[in-house]
Structure formats: structure tokens, C-alpha cells
């Protein structure tokens, strides 16, 4: 399988790097400080392929915290607030769009 770092990135807007946390699979985002956060608003936002590649390289190197890091689109409001850039990322961010049956 081609490593994410070997794939040519096409960046057409603001993006973040996201992954799943190793020990529980939770969705996490790469921060500008080189750490991971559960909160999208703390994600580092980049807008160029070069910057995304650098961000992704750092994320991928951290194989013990995160699994399957990749670049994901986001939308940035005028006030800087971040929203997931597509439905898949919205569901990863907010959880299933359905009520879970086993809630107690």
C-alpha cells in the first residue's frame, strides 16, 4: 500500500490532519504543537500541499499514539471557527447521525 507520504496531495482549501487514537480508536486531530487533540478547534490548519505534507509527516511518525493519519478538508468560518469539510468528516467529528440503541 502506498504510504500517505508518497501520495501526491491536492489541496484546494483549508485542511487538517486527522487519525484515530491507538488505544481506543477515537478521532484525533494534529495540533500545531505536534501533539494530538480530540477537539477539531485545536487542529493545525494548513492551506498548501507543502505544509500539509509536513504536518502529515510529523503525524505519521507518531505511530504509537495515532493510527492511519491523513489529510482531511475543513471549512473555516469568518471568525476562524472550524467545521468538518465533508459528511464523512462531520460524522467522524460528531458521531453517528442516528440515536444509538443501547444508550442507558
Amino acid at each position: 500500500m502506498t504510504s500517505p507520504l508518497q501520495q501526491k496531495l491536492r489541496i484546494t482549501g483549508p485542511v487538517v490532519v486527522t487519525a484515530n487514537r491507538l488505544d481506543d480508536g477515537a478521532v484525533i486531530y494534529r495540533t500545531s504543537g505536534g501533539e494530538w487533540s480530540r477537539r477539531l478547534e485545536q487542529a493545525a490548519v494548513v492551506t498548501t500541499a507543502a505544509a500539509a505534507t509536513t504536518l502529515l509527516a510529523g503525524a505519521t511518525a507518531d505511530d504509537i499514539t495515532a493510527v492511519g493519519a491523513y489529510v482531511a478538508p475543513v471549512q473555516q468560518d469568518a471568525d476562524g471557527a472550524l467545521r468538518p469539510g465533508n459528511l464523512r468528516e462531520a460524522i467522524r467529528h460528531a458521531g453517528p447521525t442516528i440515536a444509538l440503541p443501547g444508550v442507558i
Binding site: 484515530n20 491507538l22 480508536g25 460524522i91 467522524r92 447521525t97 440503541p101 443501547g102 444508550v103
Partner: protein
């Protein structure tokens, strides 16, 4: 139930211990993800959108009440209090933490449960008729043969790295409830002209990106040869199946490219040298495996006892449920009861831990401790005395498991879709939920008769959309969810792929489109007992296409 012996128990326990070590090495960083991923997949653990998912094998869909209680416990202790029964008779937990998986695996192993071969390019869980052993129309119990194949193909070193995953289904009934013609190998037990029982061998069926109905390459295979012949099919596939393109790696592509006749010749060449060797089944071995199945000690009862007759006459709701969800049993005075996991507004196939525990209790009290899982994502109590049916119904009603919609329009098969699955393009559960609301009127649903809606959230077709009477396939267009609609598919002994009726429709219009199709059917059918499929066969797709697209 099949009773595991020490060999089975040791295998499962050792695998759980091995996996504990692998997880510890991954969490410590000793193993990279690239090294660990194939190991977790060999134990049925996927990484989905939000969390790890654990898929647990339920061989031929048979569960004991104790196993069901263990599943309830795992749901409660390690997951979010529910599980999802799948179209391959397995169960999936969607929120398992990797760090806790070894403990969950240990608890599952103590109940004889595991995730081996529920993922990866190996022979997956072998499925069969959920009514196996009790269906009046079967010629013998297909689980015996599924179990023989399971034993032979579990951790089979030659078939642990096939070109792609491999699915086998077995049926022994006139009516195919196991969808064998859309499996890599389908085995149908039947009687030949001389009265001997053997297998029709069907290969190369499958759904997904390139759907095919399987082809019969051996109309009659003596029972003694089933292991050697399946071995020969797998060897042929292992040798010639494509490994250069994941989308062309399934056996269906090989059978299609070679042609069924040429493929059968290759299999035969592989089979002849081994057919009389150690894989030829000794009847004593078959008898030993069959002897590990424990059949209930049925009471000597009569059909239609007074308790049942009275309830049917006096309670319309019970009578409705009875007519829909209760089926004839081999043993007089007993019945097969299907538990609908398709309540109005519910995700198809999901059951809460409380429901699982209660089902286990009902199985102990009324069904000799046995439960079955069907590929339509419902459960079955296979041995209920007819006199107990009113009590069972009341208990199921209280649990939300007595919706009398089995086989009807709201008995929808659906994959987890984009709400959980990392492969999906669109959601499928919310579509199913909306359709159950649109068709909540049970009188209408019953008047429609048998009508299966199958929904897949991507081309991989886990929701079997190709063989739905109405099939819905989610596709993504410019970031929006759309659905392709097919009609006329079916998965049984007359299996056929559905026909696309036109351009994909937006997510928000899917339920309206299905309603339009149903309305068109009601107008087109010539009599109330002409089911949807027969109407489609008679008039074709064009009238449905016109109805759906006339105003869109």
C-alpha cells in the same frame, strides 16, 4: 447445539492469549501498525470511523443462551450496550477499545466465541439456513456439513492468504434461506434421481463491485467428497485468482474470466488426485461430528393446541404476529419463532444488551437454550412449543421484538453505512429508519406481501442491495449522498440481480421513490397475491421507471 470439545476450547483460549500478547506489544510500540494490522484483522478487529469494531463469528448462526449472555455482557462492559447482527450471521461491536479487547476476548473465549477468520483473505464464517435442523422442507441438517467444513478450514495453512476473502454457505432445503448463489461457494444438499443425497456445488457468486450469480459446476457431488472438492476449488482459486488487483481478486472474477466449464475442468484436475485420499470423508467421522450436535428432547405434542387456538381466535394482534413470525417445525406441536430486529425507527439488526439477556432467558425457558441468527438480520427461537407461543409473544412484545414485519417491506437489510463504516460513501441506517416509518401501517405492509428492501452504503454491497426486491445503493456525487435504485433482485434458489431503474436519486428523495415504486406495484399487480417480484417479472422495470422519474 454443537458441543465444542477440548480441541476447540484450547484453540480459542490459546488464540485469546496470543492476541493479548500482540496487543501489549502494539501498545508498547514494539509492533508498528503495519505489523499489527494483519494480526488484529485475523481476529476480526477493524478500525472504523470512530472506534475499533470487533466482529465475532457465529458459526452457522447458532448461539446458545450462555453465548448470548456473554455477548450481552461484552456489549455492556466493553461497548455501548448494544451489538449489530450482520448479513453473515455474525455480530459486531462498534465501540470496543483496543486496550480492553484482550479482556473481552478472554470472556468470549470462555463461552467458545472468537473473531478468527471474520476478516482477512481467508475462509470466513460458514453460514447456513437459520432454520437448519428444524425446517420441515430440509432433507437433512446442513449444520453438520458446515461444521465439518469449519473444522477443516479453520487455520488451514494453505488457505490463510487467499487472493481475497472467501465465503461459503450451505443449505439443505428446497427454499434457499442462506443465499448460497451469491457466495463464493454455495452448497445445496439435495437428492438425485437414484435417491442419494449429495451436494450441488455452485461457485463464483458474489455481490460487491462486480456482482454475479454463482454457476453450478457440479450438479451432484457425493457427500464423502465434499471436503476434497471444496479443497480443490480453493486450490484452483489460490493458484489462478488474481492478486494484482483487489477489485478483480474474488473467485467470481476468475470463474467469469475462465468460464464456468473451464474452471470446473481445472477444479477436476486438482480434485482427481486427492478425492480418494485422506479428505474422503469416512462416514464414521461424519457421524462423530453429527453426534456433537445435541437435539432437544421434544415432548410428544400435537399441532394447534387449545392454548394457541384460543389466543389466535381472541387476540387479533397475536394472530397477526403468529401469521407473520411463526413457522412450521419438523416436530409436531413445536414452532420456529422469528424475532424481528426491525422495529419502527430502529437500526436493522441491532439488539441491546438487555434484549440479548432477555432473549437468552426466553431461549432457556421456551427454546431448549438455542437461538439462531439469520442473514436477514433477525433472530430465531428454533424450538418453541406451540402452547407457549402466547407467552413468548407477550414477552417479545415487551422487549420490542415482536414487530410482525418478517419478510415484509419494513424488514429491511442494511449495512452500518457511513454512520460507522470507513468504507461507506453514504448512510444507510437512517434511510432504513425512515422507510420503517413510512411503512409503519402493518395492514398496508401485509397487503403488500413479501417485499424485501436491501440497502448498501457503498459498492461493497454488505447490505446485499443487488438481490433486494428493491435495492438501494448509496453513491457519493460531489460530496452529496445519492442512491441508485434497482428492482427485481432476489437471493433465494431463483437468485437474480436487480435491474437499475434510472439515475441515482438524492438522499432526501429515497423514501419518496420507494413509496412511488410501491404505489406503482399496487396499481400494476393483477391480484392481491401477486407479489412485487412477480409483478416486476411480468411488466418489467419500465412502468416503475416512468413512475419514479416522471416528476423528477
Amino acid at each position: 447445539m454443537y458441543l465444542y470439545d477440548d480441541l476447540d476450547r484450547t484453540l480459542v483460549t490459546e488464540r485469546a492469549a496470543e492476541f493479548r500478547d500482540q496487543v501489549a506489544r502494539r501498545l508498547s510500540g514494539e509492533l508498528t501498525e503495519d505489523e499489527f494490522k494483519p494480526l488484529r484483522l485475523m481476529n476480526g478487529i477493524y478500525l472504523q470511523l470512530h472506534a475499533y469494531m470487533l466482529r465475532i463469528a457465529i458459526p452457522y448462526g447458532a448461539l446458545s443462551s450462555d453465548q448470548m449472555r456473554t455477548l450481552a455482557h461484552v456489549a455492556r462492559r466493553y461497548d455501548r450496550n448494544y451489538g449489530h447482527f450482520t448479513t453473515r450471521q455474525n455480530i459486531q461491536f462498534n465501540w470496543i477499545k483496543l486496550a480492553e479487547l484482550p479482556d473481552a476476548m478472554d470472556e468470549l473465549a470462555r463461552a467458545g466465541l472468537h473473531g478468527m477468520q471474520t476478516s482477512g483473505n481467508c475462509v470466513r464464517n460458514i453460514t447456513t439456513d437459520q432454520w437448519a435442523g428444524v425446517a420441515p422442507d430440509e432433507i437433512e441438517d446442513p449444520r453438520v456439513w458446515a461444521e465439518i467444513l469449519r473444522q477443516h478450514l479453520t487455520l488451514h495453512p494453505e488457505f490463510s492468504f487467499l487472493p481475497r476473502k472467501f465465503k461459503i454457505a450451505v443449505t439443505a432445503a428446497a427454499h434457499d434461506r442462506a443465499a448460497i448463489r451469491v457466495h463464493d461457494i454455495g452448497l445445496r444438499l439435495h437428492r438425485n434421481g437414484a435417491g442419494e443425497v449429495g451436494f450441488e456445488v455452485v461457485v463464483g457468486g458474489g455481490l460487491g463491485r462486480t456482482p454475479f450469480i454463482g454457476k453450478t459446476i457440479k450438479p451432484f457431488l457425493p457427500k464423502r467428497d465434499v471436503l476434497s472438492y471444496v479443497e480443490a476449488v480453493l486450490r484452483t482459486y489460490n493458484q489462478f485468482g488474481r492478486r494484482d488487483n483487489i477489485y478483480k481478486a474474488r473467485i467470481k472474477i476468475l470463474v467469469h474470466d475462465l468460464g464456468a466449464e473451464a474452471f470446473a475442468k481445472e477444479v477436476d484436475a486438482e480434485w482427481q488426485p486427492i478425492k480418494d485420499g485422506p479428505l474422503a470423508l469416512d462416514p464414521a467421522v461424519v457421524a462423530t461430528v453429527a453426534g456433537h450436535f445435541r437435539y432437544p428432547s421434544y415432548e410428544s405434542l400435537s399441532d394447534n393446541p387449545p392454548e394457541l387456538a384460543k389466543a389466535r381466535a381472541s387476540d387479533r394482534r397475536f394472530a397477526t404476529w403468529f401469521a407473520n413470525s411463526v413457522t412450521n417445525h419438523k416436530a409436531p406441536g413445536y414452532a420456529i419463532v422469528t424475532l424481528s430486529l426491525k422495529p419502527e425507527g430502529g437500526p436493522p439488526g441491532d439488539a441491546t444488551a438487555e434484549q440479548m439477556d432477555a432473549i437468552a432467558d426466553l431461549a432457556d425457558r421456551y427454546s431448549f437454550g438455542e437461538i439462531r441468527v439469520g442473514h436477514e438480520q433477525n433472530l430465531v427461537l428454533p424450538h418453541v412449543a406451540q402452547r407457549d407461543l402466547p407467552a413468548v409473544w407477550r414477552a417479545l412484545e415487551a422487549l420490542g421484538l415482536a414487530t410482525p414485519n418478517v419478510g415484509l417491506v419494513s424488514d429491511i437489510i442494511a449495512c452500518p453505512g457511513l454512520d460507522y463504516c470507513s468504507l461507506a460513501n453514504t448512510r444507510s441506517i437512517p434511510v432504513a429508519q425512515e422507510l420503517t416509518r413510512r411503512f409503519r401501517d402493518l395492514d398496508l405492509a401485509q397487503s403488500l406481501g413479501r417485499l424485501h428492501i436491501n440497502i448498501s452504503g457503498c459498492i461493497n454491497a454488505c447490505g446485499h442491495h443487488h438481490v433486494g426486491h428493491i435495492g438501494l445503493l448509496g453513491v457519493e456525487k460531489n460530496g452529496e449522498e445519492f442512491f441508485q435504485v434497482t428492482i427485481g433482485g432476489q437471493a433465494d434458489e431463483n437468485a437474480v440481480l436487480g435491474t437499475l431503474i434510472g439515475p441515482a436519486v438524492p438522499y432526501a428523495q429515497v423514501a419518496d421513490v420507494v413509496e412511488d415504486i410501491v404505489e406503482a406495484y399496487l396499481e400494476l399487480r393483477t391480484r392481491p397475491d401477486e407479489i412485487f417480484l412477480d409483478t416486476v417479472k411480468r411488466v418489467g422495470v419500465e412502468p416503475f421507471r416512468e413512475r419514479v422519474y416522471a416528476t423528477r
